[in-house]
């Protein structure tokens, strides 16, 4: 029976554009949770396995993976139209463009308030220390990157209790600004809070949050879309407009927060910062084997260089990091920067600092029932004695083991393996016609016809 529990149904922000997809299997092989299969010549994402990390998006040679976003027109349903901007957004632009020009461009697009996402990092840091004192489990794992939280839920279910259930800056800031606008006379229902997102994972987390929370964020606007709009605006506006940000509270800790080591530097005990989803998978394996020793805190991010490497970032991630580090060091000397008392003003939202339970959702289990799982396991192992172990992907599954699992789960057949299919035909156990049909089911019926409109062929870009 299908599971209708809202906590086991997941919103995903990554989509396969069926017209553009050529079924090339690149995405299928990089996926860390084996969430992709090819059917009818197109990639298909299995919803409960996907963690929205965006590896498939990065690797797709024909840009067939897209990230959903809310319609910009949606902002005009609200009187106060707030755009929440993370520091990395500013870091994408040349240092010659002052942040104030970028903010005025955002107002030109239609936003009435520009707020910074990382204003609440000092409050989040306070919540971190409180959490560390109250919970004995180690290492604690940051809940900042939603792709990692989901990766742990599905691939490392034994580590869900290590996730530090603290609300990240985006949610705390959104709550704070909502309160502020309320205080200035704008009711919550007339306020639209829009988040400029660097990635699909953040969208998914806002649309279906973990930890028993509901997001106050109204919608998301993808950063690459905003980036293009702003570049155009800057190109066409000669007069330098100087629009200040609505409430400038950003300090050096906030500027660096979403970059690699942005959280880990604040831990006074051993803390590791790991970026890139493969590296994270490796370190989580070690945590499970209890191999890290006395590490207190793990900052884990799906993207290389942290959010500067988010899939919706346009600027070169290394330059973004360089600019933000420079900006942070300019801030770092000032008195306000050191003044942690700033967080007093967040007193109203502080109670929302902690998240509820995060449930494990083991995607590898062969069955809920142990005895059935044992039977399926035995079948799978027997099947592996026959599958050739090439992991070629021609069956539409990422590797032989996954095909074997799909077979025992009734989602595929042994004849999907091209090599075994060949054997079956040779032994007259399968007709040529039937074999051809099976291949078409996986690869579609146009796939083996001549087509010069593909990468490396005569009409490559035509």
């Amino acid at each position: 029976m299908p599971d209708k529990n809202p906590h086991t149904e997941f919103h995903h922000a990554l989509r396969v554009n069926k017209n553009a997809c050529t079924g090339c299997t690149h995405c299928m092989t990089v996926c860390q949770t084996k969430a992709i299969r090819v059917r009818n010549g197109k990639a298909r994402i299995i919803a409960n396995r996907c963690v929205d990390c965006g590896e498939c998006y990065k690797v797709c040679p024909v840009s067939a993976i897209s990230v959903e976003q809310d319609d910009l027109q949606m902002i005009f349903d609200y009187e106060a139209r707030v755009i929440l901007i993370p520091s990395i957004f500013i870091g994408q632009f040349s240092h010659k463009i002052p942040a104030s020009s970028i903010y005025s461009a955002l107002k030109d697009i239609g936003f009435t308030h520009v707020f910074q996402v990382e204003n609440t990092v000092d409050m989040v840091l306070e919540a971190y220390s409180e959490y560390r004192q109250k919970n004995e489990i180690r290492p604690l794992i940051s809940s900042f990157c939603p792709a990692i939280v989901r990766l742990i839920q599905v691939r490392f279910p034994s580590l869900v209790d290590n996730i530090m259930r603290v609300n990240p800056p985006i949610d705390m800031s959104a709550l704070y600004y909502l309160e502020q606008l309320k205080a200035s006379g704008i009711p919550a229902e007339k306020t639209g809070l829009f988040y400029a997102t660097p990635c699909a994972a953040k969208i998914a987390a806002i649309k279906s949050p973990v930890g028993d929370t509901e997001s106050v964020i109204t919608g998301v606007i993808n950063m690459n879309f905003l980036y293009n709009k702003i570049q155009r605006y800057l190109q066409n506006t000669s007069a330098e407009k100087n629009m200040p940000v609505t409430d400038d509270l950003l300090n050096s800790r906030g500027i660096l927060w979403s970059l690699t080591r942005g959280e880990a530097v604040h831990c006074d005990k051993r803390a590791l910062a790991v970026d890139g989803i493969r590296n994270v998978t490796e370190i989580l394996e070690d945590v499970e084997n209890d191999k890290l020793g006395s590490v207190e805190f793990l900052e884990l991010r799906a993207c290389d260089e942290g959010c500067a490497g988010g899939i919706l970032m346009t600027g070169n991630r290394f330059l973004t990091v360089e600019r933000l580090r420079k900006l942070a060091s300019e801030h770092a000397g000032s008195k306000e920067d050191k003044d942690k008392k700033l967080s007093d003003r967040f007193i109203n939202v502080k109670e929302h600092s902690f998240l509820g339970n995060i449930e494990p959702r083991n995607i590898e289990k062969l069955d809920e029932d142990f005895n059935v799982a044992m039977k399926k396991m035995a079948r799978k192992r027997r099947m592996m004695c026959f599958l050739p172990g090439f992991d070629c992907g021609a069956c539409g599954a990422p590797d032989c083991q996954t095909l074997a699992e799909d077979i025992v789960q009734g989602r595929a057949q042994i004849s999907h393996c091209v090599f075994l299919q060949h054997q079956l035909v040779k032994q007259n156990l399968l007709s040529h016609e039937k074999a051809g049909k099976i291949t078409e089911e996986i690869w579609g019926n146009e796939r083996l016809e001549k087509n010069c409109n593909k990468i490396g062929a005569e009409d490559e870009n035509y």
Binding site: S158, N289, E364, K365, F370
Partner: protein, 141 residues
């Protein structure tokens, strides 16, 4: 259901592969993660002991509906005084091994803590046999 694995002595870069494979098996069988965590930690320590102290080893894993039994048999120097070796902090690890972060003398006690039944037998000069049993239901011993 039975699984078998080989362990090569001295090969630290591969230490942990048996524990990782078993971990995956336990996830596939939907074993409660508190229990599987214990099994994996104990198995990892046993595996590293073969890598660090012996020449080669064989692991047998038997799973039935109530328990997992791991049997690790190695060819190696053996343990002359088992009760002594079980003491926390006792280690004969070489300085090189310590440099790699092993050799705190905590492995055997960690194994004892993380399984329900631990039997170690050893013939000095020949090898060591370790048997560990963990029940899936915490109160089923």
């Amino acid at each position: 259901m039975q699984y078998r694995f080989k362990i090569a002595g001295g090969d630290f870069s591969n230490a942990g592969t048996v524990a990782s494979s078993v971990k995956k098996i336990l996830r596939q069988l939907n074993i409660n993660h508190t229990v599987s965590k214990r099994i994996v930690i104990a198995l990892y320590e046993a595996e590293v002991n073969v890598v660090a102290h012996a020449y080669s080893g064989l692991v047998e894993i038997d799973i039935d509906s109530e328990k997992l039994r791991a049997y690790i048999a190695d060819k190696g120097p053996g343990i002359p005084d088992i009760p002594k070796a079980m003491e926390e902090g006792f280690s004969t690890a070489s300085p090189q091994v310590r440099e790699m972060g092993f050799g705190a003398g905590m492995g055997l006690s960690n194994m004892k803590r993380n399984c329900d039944i631990l039997n170690i037998t050893s013939e000095p000069g020949t090898g060591t046999n370790v048997e560990m049993i963990t029940y899936f239901k915490p109160d089923a011993r």
